[in-house]
Structure formats: C-alpha cells, structure tokens
Symmetry: C2
Subunit: 227 residues, 2 copies
DNA sequence: ACCTGAACACCGTTCAAGT
DNA sequence: ACCTGAACACCGTTCAAGT
C-alpha cells in the first residue's frame, strides 16, 4: 500500500465532511423522506446521514417542528414560477394546484407535515401570491380571494394526506372495503346500495383534484351571484 | 389493624380493578386526549391510567393505529341521530357538519388522528349514511353524492386540524403574522396589500365552516348545471 | 462559535414467564 | 385466556465538556 492508496482513501472517506448548514440539513432530511417516508425520518437519522450526532443539529434548528417547516418550504421551491400558458385562469389554477399536489405526493408524509405546520417561508409565500393572482384574474373579491386560497390549499393538502394514507396502510384500505361489503342494508341502505354500484373506488387522484377545484371555484362564483 | 380496616383498604385501592376491555381502553384514551392532548396520549399512559402495563393492551388492540380508529369512531357516537328540524336540507347539512367539527375540536389532536386514520366503525358509517341522505335530498346524483360527502368530510376534518394547530402552537401563529408584516412589497404585492387591509385574521371558526359548506355544495350544484 | 458523547425522559412493540 | 416485567430498538432534547 503506497502513498497513492492512502491518499485516495482519506479523500474518499472525508470529503471535507459536508460543513453542516441549514440547507444541507434540510436537503438531507428531504432525501431521507423521499426514500424512507416519514417513519424513516428522525433527527437522529438525518444527523447520521450527515455523519454527526443529533445534538449538532440544534445549532441550526430550534426543534423538529422547525425542520418540518423548512422541509415543506424547500419542497415548494419546485413549484412552477407561474402557470405559463395562456388559456383560462381556471385551467391554470387547476394545473398550478396539481403541481402542488404532485410535490406533496412525491414525498410520502410531507402532506401530513403540511397539515400540522405553518410555513411562512419564501416559497410558501410565493405560492400564495400566485394563487391570489389567479383568483384576482377570475374577478373574485379580495375577501373571498383570501378565504378561497386558504380553502383550495387546505383541500389539496388534505387530499394529498389522504392519498398518503391509502398508500402507506395499503391493506388497511382493504379492511375498509371489506367492512363496507358486509354493512347491514337495514341500517345503512344508502351505503350498501352505493357500494353495490361500485361507487367507492377511492379516487383521490388527478381526476379528483380537477373536480374538487372546479367545485370550490364554481362554488365561490355561485355564492357571489347569490349575494 | 383489625379485619375491618384491612377490608376497607383493599376495597378502595382495588375496586375490582376495572376488568379491562376494548371499551374501557378507548374511553380512557379519549379522556386522556381531552385532558392532555395528543402529546399526552400514549399506550403507556393509557395503560397506567388503567393501572396496568402497556403490554396488557395488546390483548385488545393490534397497535396504536387501531386505538386511534376506535377513538375516532367512539367520539362520533356523539353525533346527533339526524339534523332534527325541518328547514332546508342545506341548513341541516351545515348544522350536521358543524356538529362533526365541534366533536373534533373538543379533543385536541383528534382531527389529526382523523386525517391519518380510516375508520369503518358503526358511528362513522352512520355519519356517511346521514350525509348521503342529505345530498340525496338535495337532488345530487349518486356519483357526485359519494365524492361530495368525501369532499365535505375531508374539508371539515382539515379545518379542524388547522384550528388545532392554531391553538397548540399559539405563538408560532404570531410568527407567521410577523413574517407577513415584513413581506417585501416588490416580490409579494398582493400579500402585502391584503395584509394591510387586515384580511389575514385566521378565521377557521363557526363562520368559516358555513361558508365552506356553502361553497362546496354550491359548487357541486353549479357544476351539474354546466354539464 | 461550533460540535459532541452521554444522559434524560420518554416511546411502541415483543416475548418469555406467570396465573 | 389473560396479564405482566423486562427487554429491544428506538425517539427529541439538553447539557457539560471539548475545540
């Protein structure tokens, strides 16, 4: 084993040891989330991936909650700058929210993080700004714009969280189907009829989001026209 | 120490020792949730409240996840049998969903449980049945009834979860307000304008639920009339 | 200022052993 | 069949001690 071999080994095993920073921590956490899901994510594991101990992270983070908020905002960096095409504002709104949905769905558990965290990071604010602009373009009043964006984001986030459940529990979903199949017609006439007609597919996908956005936007507009 | 004293003490300290059952466990867990919130709830603590060890619970529960589902369904036992008054189906729908919201809001953390659990318990099914009936009364088609109930429940649950956050983090919410107050007008013109107009109150309460239900129901009806 | 090992106060779940 | 103590494999967070 000559000098060359020793040299190579030392370079490989300690490449300046990734100097640790908020960004590095958040990136590492997101990649852990993507590969192992929310159950596989912990401060200890993030630290281990960064070749250090969990205590070291507390120089950059107040707590786990803060890491969650940073992760969410970082993930939202992938949002398109604005929905490029011309078309109608309503279609662009649908596309934009579909982007949001797919960002959440790409990382198992991030939707749940989004449900329990309030981010005020730059990318989150930009998303709000874009959505407010789209509703403004649609001629929706200021007050209803705020409530509308809140409602749209809440709904898409919740849809993503539900989709997450469907994926992660897997056969628990089958348990629900079985429970429905056995439901007594006497007590639950509507449920059993609808089940027979195969109307409990468990949607939650790309189709469902378009429908939901249409319902919410259509509902806001309809409310306006009624006073 | 005579016989009498010994007798009394043994009665007091071990009143037949609460013979342990699914129902007892779930009731104990719900009361723990109500008093200490979700962070104060654990299998070990439920077991301790029942004067036993955590391992004993596994005779009645497969795991924590199952306890969550049982808790949710048990809490839903409080739902009114149906919204009693005559009035319109739409108002009764609003009241019914307001009941659901308040059941979730009474127990801090239950909304988050509801977001990550799929219950097929009797009380959950009854709630679905009632909601399906109300939308049927409203003349909404079968397919849209299912999607509509799903959407309504998802939304109210998500609202409750958000409300939960607002309460439990408390000053974190203030942090968001501060972040909004400082937002650069150049990059976020709409956000800063709306903030100045005081339109970020953080609603989420009884008013908001009526509005949201109106939007969703109105949206479903509006969609129908467009084809 | 930044990093760390060790400790603290917890978790859910399993399992061998008891009744 | 039901219950249990102890153990296993984890957590987030703190803190004294190092550089």
């Amino acid at each position: 084993m000559g000098t060359r071999a020793r040299h190579t080994v030392s370079r490989r095993s300690r490449p300046a040891k990734a100097p640790l920073s908020r960004d590095v921590i958040v990136a590492s956490a997101l990649s852990l989330l993507e590969s192992d899901g929310l159950e596989g994510l912990s401060l200890r594991r993030v630290a281990a991936a960064l070749d250090t101990g969990a205590a070291s992270l507390y120089v950059y983070l107040a707590n786990l909650e803060e890491l969650y908020a940073l992760m969410l905002d970082q993930a939202l960096a992938e949002m398109p700058p604005t929905s490029g095409r011309k078309r109608g504002w309503r279609d662009r709104l649908k596309d934009y929210l579909a982007s949001y949905l797919s960002i959440l769905n790409k990382r198992p558990g991030l939707a749940h993080v989004a449900m329990s965290t309030i981010s005020a990071g730059p990318n989150t604010l930009r998303m709000w700004e874009v959505l407010l602009g789209l509703l403004e373009e649609g001629g929706i009043d200021a007050e209803e714009r705020v409530a509308g964006v809140d409602m749209l984001l809440l709904h898409v986030t919740a849809m993503a969280a539900e989709e997450d459940n469907r994926r992660s529990v897997g056969h628990d979903f089958k348990r629900v189907r079985n429970a429905l199949a056995v439901v007594p017609r006497k007590d639950f006439p509507r449920l059993s009829t609808l089940f027979e007609q195969g109307l409990f597919s468990g949607s939650g996908d790309d189709v469902a989001i378009g429908w939901a956005v249409d319902v919410i936007v259509g509902g806001i507009l309809a409310n306006k026209h009624r006073g």
